[in-house]
């Protein structure tokens, strides 16, 4: 079920606009790599290319040994920046989209999704329409939808960015065991320095547009203890300073250019 992801010299341009200027990254099977970088540095684009939803302009991307877009599409489940819940389906039917797409009967699919609803604190909201759910619930439904696809690689595009700070912290804590149990290899885009360090095995920093990978540091995934203890520890603080320094230094360079 586990897979590796790697990119070498990846570039992309939209017409005259250079968006990615050479990205190298490497994710081991079952690992979580966070991708941090300023707005517009091409993080979402990188995710779509990795997921086989877009062809890159140059360079190499491999998912599970497949370098072609169709092979990458097969290996990855993409969770877009907006939750993209379909308003004509109930929460449960949204969560079971992938299973029905893969040929399961609606009844079976609903049953699998309903089990997750219980685990994830969504019981009672199975038949709710998406617009009846809070932001945090919507995000959890979108997570279940992505997880149930049972793809070996998950591509998560700022999954918690739209939430308030408290809900975000809660969901980060909730996400840790969920992702661990799924066994999936994860590429997570985030603006949030704390989130990157707390959730990731490693964090890769992108430069401003055109995005290049400028550094990779270790994250603190799997640190024992509650989240608020972890993020207030001295070790965590050092990481935070290091990562902020990397982002700032390059942002300054981007502005001077």
């Amino acid at each position: 079920m586990t897979a590796t992801v790697s990119a070498r010299g990846l570039t992309h341009r939209f017409g005259p606009l250079d968006v990615l200027g050479g990205v190298d990254l490497e994710i081991e099977a079952g690992a979580l790599l966070a991708l941090a970088g300023p707005s517009g540095s091409g993080k979402s684009t990188l995710l779509e290319i990795t997921g086989g939803l877009r062809e890159q302009s140059g360079g190499l991307v491999e998912v599970n040994g497949s370098a072609d877009a169709a092979g990458r599409l097969r290996g990855c489940a993409w969770m877009p920046q907006r939750d993209c819940l379909l308003p004509w389906y109930s929460a449960l039917d949204n969560a079971s989209l992938a299973l029905v797409n893969q040929g399961k009967s609606r009844r079976e699919a609903r049953k699998s999704a309903a089990e997750r609803f219980e685990h994830f604190g969504l019981e009672g909201f199975e038949t709710a329409r998406p617009d009846e759910l809070s932001g945090g619930m919507r995000q959890r439904v979108a997570f279940i939808r992505t997880l149930l696809s049972a793809k070996p690689v998950l591509l998560l595009d700022e999954p918690l960015a739209a939430l308030d700070a408290i809900t975000r912290a809660e969901l980060q804590e909730w996400l840790t065991p969920v992702l661990r149990e799924s066994g999936a290899t994860v590429l997570l885009v985030t603006h949030d320095v704390e989130e990157a360090i707390y959730l990731a095995d490693r964090v890769t920093v992108l430069s401003p547009r055109p995005g290049r990978s400028i550094a990779t540091i270790d994250g603190m995934r799997g640190s024992p203890g509650r989240r608020d203890e972890v993020v207030s520890s001295p070790a965590f603080n050092r990481k935070r300073e290091e990562l902020l320094g990397l982002l700032r230094s390059d942002q300054a360079r981007g502005a001077a250019r």
């Binding site: 997921g51 939803l53 907006r82 004509w88 989209l97 797409n101 939808r145 992505t146 696809s149």
Partner: protein, 252 residues
């Protein structure tokens, strides 16, 4: 709550009918127009005729209703098919769109007699004219609905193993449905006009035919009765589509 919706238009209609009744039955309208009294019927006289000649009127209404249903159905099928084809291929859309617009510029009054020459007095010319009129709003509004499809939702579905057909069924069709219903409602309102033009160009039955005959015999009260039934058909069709929309598009 409900009454607040239907009460104002009902009161307005009753008020206007009352005015008309007064103006006509007092002979005031006929005097102003310089006409004989029987040429300017009051609502009560129209209602009388509607009741007395109900068999004749409803018999003809049945014919017109069949024409409208068939023409509307044909327009719905062809309009949806064309919109889906346009969505499917850019080349087809670029090639076909001017033709769709041109279809709307065909003057029905001119084309109707030609169709009668070609297809005779039967249902075919009416059916073609009605569907010609209905085709444009259905096609354009369906296309408009399809254009609202969220490309991000499509990519999400692709990533979750959705085939082209699955994405069409589960994302594109639901997105386009409100547009389809808008087009169908507009089409329902104009279908009746198409039916009357079709019958005027040549027919031996139908409300349009009856209106033409009554006009020749100066039977103005029955003409108004026929017009009343025609609007009733249009309004019912419009309301029926609205009900259907509310039952189907529940997420709005």
């Amino acid at each position: 709550m409900k009454a607040r919706i239907w009460l104002p238009p009902l009161l307005l209609v009753l008020f206007l009918l009352g005015l008309w009744q007064l103006a006509a039955s007092s002979g005031f309208l006929a005097d102003v127009l310089g006409l004989e009294d029987f040429l300017v019927p009051a609502p009560s006289e129209i209602a009388d005729v509607l009741w007395q000649d109900r068999d004749l009127i409803f018999d003809n209404a049945g014919t017109t209703l069949v024409e409208i249903a068939a023409g509307f159905g044909l327009a719905l099928i062809s309009g949806l098919a064309v919109a889906v084809a346009f969505r499917g291929s850019d080349l087809v859309r670029r090639a076909g769109y001017p033709l769709v617009v041109a279809s709307q510029t065909i003057p029905v009054i001119v084309i109707a007699p030609v169709l009668v020459v070609w297809f005779g007095y039967g249902i075919w010319p009416k059916l073609l004219i009605i569907s010609l009129i209905c085709f444009f709003p259905i096609t354009v509004n369906t296309l408009d609905g399809l254009r609202r499809v969220d490309p991000e939702a499509v990519r999400m579905m692709r990533s979750l193993d959705g085939s082209r057909m699955t994405i069409f069924r589960r994302v594109e069709v639901p997105t386009a449905l409100p547009g389809v219903f808008t087009g169908a409602r507009i089409a329902a309102a104009v279908a009746v006009i198409g039916a009357v033009f079709g019958e005027w160009a040549g027919s031996d039955k139908g409300l349009g035919h009856l209106i033409l005959q009554d006009n020749a015999q100066l039977m103005t009260a029955r003409m108004f009765a026929s017009v009343f039934v025609l609007s009733l058909i249009a309004i019912s069709l419009y309301a029926l589509i609205g009900l259907l929309e509310r039952a189907v598009v529940r997420w709005r």
